[in-house]
């Protein structure tokens, strides 16, 4: 269980980006993190992981989340990565093996095999040697998912993985994520497209600077909650 | 990738090996000319006057470059690798212990006995004296005074004799002739300056290079900046120079051949005192073929123009 106590994030200019989140989240599910742009979804994830300075306490299975670093994977928005970086698909996926390698250890045959298996699962085997800059948005996102698979982490955080991604890639990815959940992993996904929420997520967390609602999708993802979260009335999507 | 690795490794090992080799010092072969490497033009000229055909001098800082900041090029280093004698001014002209000449000497592993500082017998003068009466910052421009020139010539003569004893008499004869000429010029300096009335003995140029000259011949020296390596013509410096001129009323202001004359032009405008033309020489000789292209003509040139300027004979 992931337990979040009094989590809040205040920016250096004094603005409170996220206030007083208290949540107890069971493992083994896929959670959608939903909310308007700029209202704290990414901050929520970064606050949990300690990537931005945050107040409050976050524990997983009773221990501080920081101690679970090797069991945690975070795939940030792919627009933040440098696509000109000299790295092939295979090398990028291999990066997922690094956290488990010892200090001077280089990735060897075992690691390469694991990487290739993951690349096969996302359907990019024939692209293995291409530079990431030559891939489409969907293909690159699949590479990042393959990297996450190789990491074999218990907690997986994804930030808007379906932005700029083709339908085919999206389908492949969501299938794999469901497989990972079936294996016992816990996935948190910041997601922007409201139309797919019921299909993708068992549970949702609605955020607009604080948690507006959370819980199983059927119960929490209601018109009423959405209006509160998105601050709009009469959006045809909700009817 | 494997190919890259082995090429690099081979190069690295090869050069590490080579870089540990040591060098022998050049030996003088009887019929060869003595190979002398000299830091700048004035020393090169004096060397040739005394050594004449028996020596081959390689000049480092060419006329037109600043001997404080010269960077040796490959030809310089090739010559230095087999030079018999290394001659430099000292008094920090070439940058002192961490300067370019010192590094050149160290990197060819020259024998200390073959490295000659021609100003070693000269009493240094200082650009600054601080509150504790500590003398700081040596003035390198000793050679402007012919008295110093005489010492330098003697030191150079001595150095040539020490590495080429076979030609001792030749060098001694040349030295004697040269000293006679230098002494004659020095006498002219002494008589000329002594004849200038007290109230006209105020001399100002851009850089404080004339300190030794002024001290030797009873002049009071003004300046804008004390040495080239500091700022040339800051507002404070110009103000102080203007104050010097207003207080002491020299008839002219002097400028140097290789310094920026604009600060002095400002002083001239503010005080109404004209600049004397032509420029005088400080830390370089004139170009070959021009006047002042030997140390002797340089001294004579400076005397003529400084004297004329001081007595107001424009």
């Amino acid at each position: 269980m992931l337990e979040i106590q009094n989590l809040s994030v205040v920016y250096s200019n004094g603005v409170e980006a996220l206030s007083d989140v208290n949540l107890q989240l069971n493992a083994g599910s896929i959670y959608g993190i939903i909310g308007p742009n700029g209202a704290g979804k990414t901050t929520f994830v970064k606050g949990i992981l300690g990537i931005v300075p945050a107040h409050g306490k976050v524990t997983y299975k009773g221990k501080s989340i920081k101690s679970w670093a090797k069991q945690t994977a975070y795939v940030e928005q792919k627009k933040n990565l440098d696509l000109d970086f000299p790295i092939s698909v295979l090398d990028c996926v291999l990066l997922g093996t690094y956290p488990k390698l010892r200090f001077f250890e280089k990735p060897g045959a075992t690691e390469k095999a694991a990487a290739r298996k993951a690349i096969q699962q996302v359907g990019l085997t024939d692209q293995e040697n291409r530079q990431i800059g030559e891939l489409s948005g969907g293909q690159f996102q699949r590479v990042l998912i393959a990297r996450t698979i190789v990491q074999d982490a218990d907690l997986i955080f994804l930030d808007e993985p379906f932005v700029g991604v083709d339908v085919n890639s999206e389908a492949i990815i969501i299938d794999l994520l469901k497989q990972l959940v079936a294996e016992g992993k816990t996935i948190f996904m910041v997601h922007h497209d409201l139309s797919k929420v019921r299909d993708y997520f068992e549970k949702v967390i609605l955020i607009n600077k604080k948690v507006i609602a959370h819980g199983p999708t059927e119960k929490a993802f209601t018109k009423e909650n959405l209006i509160k979260t998105f601050d709009v009335l009469d959006n045809p999507l909700f009817t | 990738m494997k190919k890259h690795r082995s090429i690099l490794a081979f190069i690295l090992v090869g050069l590490l090996f080579v870089s540990c080799q040591n060098t022998n010092n050049a030996k003088i072969v009887a019929n060869d000319k003595v190979k002398v490497i000299s830091s700048f033009s004035i020393l090169t000229d004096i060397l040739y006057q005394i050594g004449k055909d028996s020596i081959d001098v390689h000049n480092l800082a060419p006329v037109g470059t600043d001997p404080h900041e010269y960077q040796p090029v490959p030809e310089d280093m090739k010559f230095a690798s087999s030079a018999d004698l290394f001659v430099y001014n000292g008094l920090n002209l070439e940058g002192g212990d961490n300067g370019w000449f010192s590094k050149l000497v160290k990197s060819v592993k020259a024998d200390k006995s073959r490295v000659i500082e021609v100003s070693s017998t000269i009493q240094p003068m200082y650009l600054l004296v601080d509150e504790n009466d500590e003398k700081m910052e040596v003035n390198p421009h000793s050679f402007i005074s012919p008295v110093v020139g005489i010492e330098m010539a003697k030191a150079i003569g001595q150095a040539l004799i020490s590495v080429d004893d076979a030609n001792k008499e030749f060098y001694e004869k040349n030295l004697e002739e040269y000293l006679a000429k230098l002494t004659a010029i020095e006498k002219k300096y002494r008589e000329s300056f002594a004849s200038i009335p007290e109230e006209d003995r105020y001399f100002i140029a851009s850089e404080r290079a004339f300190q030794y000259l002024a001290a030797e011949y009873g002049l009071t020296e003004g300046f804008i900046w004390s040495v080239d390596t500091e700022e040339n013509g800051s507002p404070d410096q110009i103000k102080n120079a203007i104050a010097f001129v207003k207080e002491n009323q020299p008839k002219v202001l002097f400028i140097e051949s290789n310094k920026d004359s604009r600060p002095m032009q400002t002083v001239s405008k503010e005080t109404g005192v004209p600049i004397y033309y032509p420029a005088i020489y400080s830390d370089e000789l004139g170009r070959p073929g021009q006047e002042a292209d030997t140390y002797l003509t340089y001294l004579e040139y400076n005397l003529k123009h400084i004297y004329n300027g001081l007595i107001g004979n424009l």
Binding site: - | H4, I11, E69, G96, G99, L104, E137, V138
Partner: protein, 288 residues
């Protein structure tokens, strides 16, 4: 050209100063080429220049305390690098502004100290060297420091790679991105200071950026970028020295121009990515 080459080789055999110049500029070409890869990929190209100037107060203080310039220079170089990182990460100041602010401040402090000390020695001479006149002690220092830097890059390759490409993943998976940043800044400072004393400021900045940028255009993995950059750095040193000796020109600047010409050749003529080829390919219709 053949004759000039023969002369160069016989000069190499005859003159120790040339052997030393060659081996030192080779070693520095390799070390700077490698460090430069990370600097270029992180968009910190001007850090090398900044550190070259920021070391001035350190040199002045070393002089006051009468200790070797190396320690003072390295200490202040690191402080400058840390200062730049601090500004970047704790405000919205971007990296180029942070570099400019810190470097000019340190340089000004250095000039102030130098004026106060009224040093009889021109500190420029200490700071900015000439590859032809390297002293034996500087030579040993350079070899040792370059060796340490190259070794560190080999040892910490994984960490450097991950934190350069995806610092967020690095951070979340438990790697201390801050420590790796400090390590890189330390390596950069060390190699900059030792390069300054041996080959001068013009050469340092160029050797850090140009071979790495050329390699960036050519390679598909960070590992090969490191090798290619090192090779180009080394190659520029050899060719540069060859031309400088043949035409009696200052060595440092000729090495810089050589590295630049190599970059331009790749930039224009590399098949597929070179500018000229891009123009050609635009006109030619692609076959299916």
């Amino acid at each position: 050209m053949g004759e000039a080459l023969q002369t160069f080789i016989s000069d190499l055999i005859e003159y120790p100063f040339l052997q030393h110049a060659l081996s030192i500029s080779l070693i520095l070409g390799i070390a700077c080429g490698m460090v430069g890869c990370f600097i270029v990929l992180r968009g910190l190209a001007l850090m090398g220049d900044a550190i070259s100037h920021a070391v001035l107060p350190g040199v002045a203080i070393s002089y006051i305390l009468n200790i070797s310039y190396f320690f003072g220079a390295v200490a202040f170089g690191i402080m400058a690098a840390l200062g730049i990182s601090f500004l970047q990460h704790n405000s919205k100041i971007k990296s180029d502004s942070a570099i400019g602010i810190v470097f000019s401040a340190f340089l000004a402090l250095g000039i102030l100290l130098v004026t106060k000390i009224q040093s009889a020695i021109n500190l420029n001479n200490i700071l900015f060297g000439n590859v032809l006149t390297i002293t034996p002690s500087d030579r040993i220092l350079t070899i040792v420091v370059a060796g340490v830097v190259i070794t560190a890059i080999f040892l910490f390759f994984k960490e450097l790679q991950l934190s350069t490409f995806d610092p967020v993943m690095a951070q979340t998976s438990g790697l201390s991105v801050n420590l790796i940043n400090y390590l890189l800044m330390l390596l950069l400072t060390l190699i900059t200071v030792v390069s300054l004393q041996t080959v001068g400021v013009i050469l340092v900045v160029s050797l850090l950026i140009t071979p790495a940028s050329t390699a960036f255009l050519l390679t598909k993995s960070l590992k090969s970028m490191l090798w290619v950059s090192a090779l180009i750095g080394a190659f520029s040193a050899v060719i540069g020295l060859f031309f400088s000796v043949t035409y009696n020109l200052p060595s440092g600047v000729v090495i810089v121009l050589t590295a630049t010409i190599i970059f331009l050749l790749v930039f224009f003529f590399h098949p597929k990515s070179g500018l000229l080829w891009q123009q050609v390919n635009k006109r030619r219709p692609k076959t299916a």
